[in-house]
């Protein structure tokens, strides 16, 4: 096991830079998730770590060793691929033992380690089958097994759950987390699914257009997003965004939301006085019934999930955000609509018009120009 240090790594293809000055320190045994939308550079970074892509500049250290110019096989890492990349002509046993064989490990030792890893993953009865005779979940386990028999310094996982169905994905997600706790091997995991990132990571690295947006513990990232992009990416449903000019009077900064003056409780809100700001409000921080800031609405759509309901409400025109901060936010109408996530254990139908409320302390404030969070 070992820590990993990535220093100022960039990657360009001709004039196109897909990774910009990426630096990250990963502690020994840490589980770090690189997350971001398609094309953000997360898989490229993982391939550079694996040695499958060459960095245009920068340095990668695994343990105490500079591996920047080393071949993939000399880095002592193991990788799990999105499509598993099992060798179709070899049995599960040979697939798992392939890496050890390449390193000249004695046959008896290979067999012992393969059997032990197969037992951990519950695939010891499949060892003599070929990959084509396995289900998707079983193939996924074999891919994990191939990684763990090597006892490498680090695991690299490139969207390993994306080919599984929803139910199996949740199950395998928990298994990978448990496996990481048991083995304690440094793991770098790439995904575009923020739920995977939130549930598995010790730290999340969120990326956009080849740049790191924020590195933080999942809870910190949820509670204190560094900018509009992170705020919109993390959370399901995503954060609501409202726009309003900030006014500053003697008793602090205020914004006008839903036609009401709302006090801004973040310390530096008054720095935005006289300018537009974007306000973030998580769907779960909106309640049914009166509260510190209440407003009456006519729901456009109500989705019931049994124990909770998603209420979609049109934003007042003056609070609509000109440009949604994230592609997904555009797709689900954030910026023009507000989603409230109401816990409704009885599943009672909601009234046609209803009163919603929120606590101004829950508001996230972002500079409308720089999109950075104001605290």
């Amino acid at each position: 096991m070992a820590g990993i240090r990535i220093e100022h790594v960039t990657k360009s293809y001709g004039g196109l830079t897909v990774l910009k000055d990426f630096s990250l320190d990963i502690a020994d045994g840490e589980f770090v998730v690189l997350v971001g939308p398609s094309g953000c550079g997360k898989s490229t970074m993982l391939k550079i770590l694996a040695g499958l892509e060459e960095a245009s500049s920068g340095k990668v250290t695994i343990g105490e060793r500079d591996v920047t110019d080393l071949a993939p096989g000399d880095r002592d890492i193991a990788m799990v691929f999105q499509n598993y990349a099992l060798y179709p002509h070899l049995t599960v046993r040979k697939n798992m033992g392939f890496g050890l064989k390449m390193r000249g490990t004695e046959a008896g030792e290979i067999d012992r380690r393969v059997t032990a890893a197969a037992k951990i993953l519950g695939i010891d009865h499949l060892l003599d089958r070929r990959p084509r005779a396995l289900s998707g979940g079983q193939r996924q386990r074999v891919a994990l097994g191939r990684a763990i028999v090597r006892e490498p310094l680090a695991f690299l996982m490139d969207e390993p759950l994306s080919n599984l169905d929803a139910k199996l994905r949740v199950h395998t997600r928990a298994e990978i987390s448990a496996l990481h706790k048991r083995l304690g091997v440094t793991t770098i995991y790439v995904t575009h699914d923020q739920t995977e990132a939130m549930t598995m990571a010790d730290r999340i690295v969120i990326m956009k257009d080849g740049e790191i947006q924020q590195i933080a513990h999942p809870d910190t990232m949820f509670r204190e997003p560094a900018n509009l992009f992170v705020a919109g990416f993390i959370g399901s449903p995503g954060m609501n965004f409202l726009q309003s000019p900030v006014t500053s009077a003697g008793n602090g900064a205020k914004a006008c939301l839903f036609g009401q003056e709302v006090p801004l409780l973040v310390a530096n809100a008054s720095t935005l006085a006289g300018r537009d700001a974007v306000f973030g409000l998580r769907p779960e921080h909106i309640s049914a019934g009166p509260g510190p800031v209440s407003f009456e609405v006519q729901p456009r759509l109500v989705e019931s999930l049994g124990s909770e309901q998603y209420v979609y409400v049109d934003l007042p025109p003056e609070n609509r955000v000109g440009q949604a901060p994230h592609a997904a936010a555009e797709e689900d109408g954030r910026g023009t609509a507000l989603i409230a996530r109401l816990i409704n254990p009885d599943g009672r139908p909601l009234a046609e018009r209803l009163t919603l409320s929120f606590d101004p302390a829950r508001l996230h404030v972002f500079d409308a120009v720089t999109q950075e969070a104001i605290r």
């Binding site: 071949a71 993939p72 096989g73 193991a78 691929f81 999105q82 499509n83 990349a85 060798y87 390193r103």
Partner: protein, 276 residues
């Protein structure tokens, strides 16, 4: 329902007719071989001889060095296929996997060699082989066949390698293989059907050649290939078509057996990638 039945009848009728058209020349070759020479031109024709000459094959083998010619054909075909596969596996893999400056144009340029008629290459090749003192040697047709086989097999293999996910060799490299090791240990075994189909194509092309053998091997009867040898059985005034047919069957037999043996690979190899 009626429409379906009519469709089936038409489909079967077409299939049977096509098969009959394809199989009839082979059947007639056998009939000719087994018939007495004087029965061949009689009208109405006999579709099976009264007394089949089963001994004709043994007689041909005793009279002519057919086995030696077959051996030469096999040597030439194996040599040409070995050479072609070595070159085209490496070339096809490179074209499939590496982004080379001008790689696309280079690939298409390779294919232009296949577009030229084989006879067009005979004259320049003859000049080259004469300088290399290869005229009369089996090496001349091994090299000549390879020039015909390589362009097509390179593209055939490139297409096959394109269907194999890159992650397979990346996984092998992470597991400790060099790029060449990953190709040899993982990509080539996975490509076995494609390799078999490609090799068979090359083998058939070499085995069925006449023009090159006729040009380069004329002065050394011991190096004649089977196709070349058979043509010498045709006399200036009289030709024994029964004997020629019998010899032709002996020459066609090995390739037929190879086809039957490799048929499942061949179909798999030629259709690979069609589902992607």
């Amino acid at each position: 329902m009626k429409r379906n039945r009519l469709d089936s009848v038409l489909l079967y009728a077409t299939a049977i007719l096509t098969c009959a058209l394809l199989v009839f020349p082979i059947y007639w070759l056998v009939v000719t071989a087994l018939s007495e020479p004087d029965q061949l031109r009689q009208l109405p024709p006999k579709f099976w001889p009264d007394r089949p000459r089963w001994g004709v094959f043994a007689q041909i083998l005793a009279e002519r060095p057919i086995l030696q010619w077959l051996g030469n054909s096999a040597l030439a075909a194996i040599g040409a296929v070995t050479l072609s596969m070595t070159v085209s596996v490496l070339a096809g893999y490179s074209l499939s996997r590496f982004k080379l400056r001008g790689g696309q144009s280079l690939g298409l340029f390779i294919l232009t060699a296949k577009m030229l008629p084989a006879t067009l290459l005979v004259i320049p090749l003859f000049g080259i082989f004469r300088q290399l003192e290869l005229i009369g040697s089996l090496w001349s047709i091994i090299l000549a066949h390879a020039t015909l086989i390589i362009p097509f097999t390179t593209w055939m293999l490139k297409g096959y390698f394109d269907t194999i996910p890159r992650e397979l060799e990346q996984a092998a490299m992470v597991d400790g293989c060099s790029p060449l090791g990953a190709m040899v240990r993982v990509i080539l075994p996975v490509s076995a059907p494609g390799l078999a189909a490609t090799a068979l194509y090359g083998f058939v092309l070499s085995w069925s050649d006449y023009a090159y053998a006729r040009t380069f091997l004329t002065n050394a009867q011991t190096n004649w290939t089977a196709n070349l040898g058979i043509t010498t059985m045709k006399g200036e005034y009289v030709s024994n078509w029964s004997d020629i047919s019998a010899a032709s069957i002996l020459v066609a037999l090995p390739i037929l057996l190879i086809y039957l043996f490799l048929e499942r690979y061949l179909v798999g190899g030629l259709t690979a990638g069609s589902d992607k």
